[in-house]
C-alpha cells in the first residue's frame, strides 16, 4: 500500500513535469513545479512511514519550508521584473 502510493505519486509528478516542460506561460510552470514539490514532501513522509523513522518527517518539514520560500521569492522576482 505505502510503496504503491509512493509509485503513484512519483508517476503523477512525472505528468506534472510534462506541464513544467511545455507550459505556455511562466504561471503554468511555477504552479506545476509547486505541485511537484508538495507531492515530493508527501513521498518523504511516506518513506518515513515505511522505515518508521521520525527523521524523514523533519526532512519533509524543511523541504516544505524551502519550497514555500522558493515560490515566494520567484513570484516576487517576477513581479518586480514586470513593473514598469
Amino acid at each position: 500500500m505505502i510503496v504503491t502510493g509512493m509509485g503513484i505519486l512519483i508517476g503523477l509528478s512525472g505528468f506534472c513535469l510534462v506541464r513544467v516542460l511545455r507550459g505556455p506561460s511562466l504561471l503554468d510552470r511555477m504552479a506545476a513545479a509547486d505541485a511537484i514539490g508538495v507531492m515530493m514532501t508527501i513521498v518523504l513522509a511516506l518513506i518515513g512511514l515505511l522505515t518508521e523513522r521520525v527523521v524523514y518527517l523533519d526532512i519533509a518539514f524543511v523541504y516544505a519550508l524551502l519550497l514555500f520560500a522558493d515560490t515566494l521569492i520567484i513570484a516576487r522576482f517576477m513581479e518586480r521584473r514586470n513593473e514598469r
Binding site: 503513484i8 503523477l12 504552479a31 505541485a35 507531492m39 513522509a45 518508521e52
Partner: protein
Amino acid sequence: MTLDAARHLAGSFMMTGGLFFCFAMTVGMLRFPDAYTRLHAGTKGLTVGAGLLLLGIGLRSPSLVFALRVVLVALFLLVTNPIAVHAIARANYRSERARRHLVVDEYAEHLDGANGS
C-alpha cells in the same frame, strides 16, 4: 488490537482519497485549457490531497512523536500552499501578458481607484 486495525483501515481509506485528489489535480493540470483554471485545479486538489494523505499517514503512524510531526507538516502545508499559489497568481496578474485575455477585470478598477496607476 481491534482499535489498531480500525485505525489502520481508516488511514488506508484516507490515503486512497488523497491519492484520488492528487490524480484529479494532475488531470486538471494537464487538461484544463487556461492558466488560471490550471492554477485553480493545482491549489485546491493539492491542498485537499496533501491534507488527506498526511492525515492517513498520521493515523497509521507507529508512535505519538511520529503522529505529532505529521500533524505539524500537514498544518504547515495547509497554511503555506494557498499563500504560495496566491503569490504566483498575483505576480502573474501584475505582468501585462496575462491580462490580455480577461473579459471582466474588477481588480484593475479597484487598483485604479486606489492609487491611480
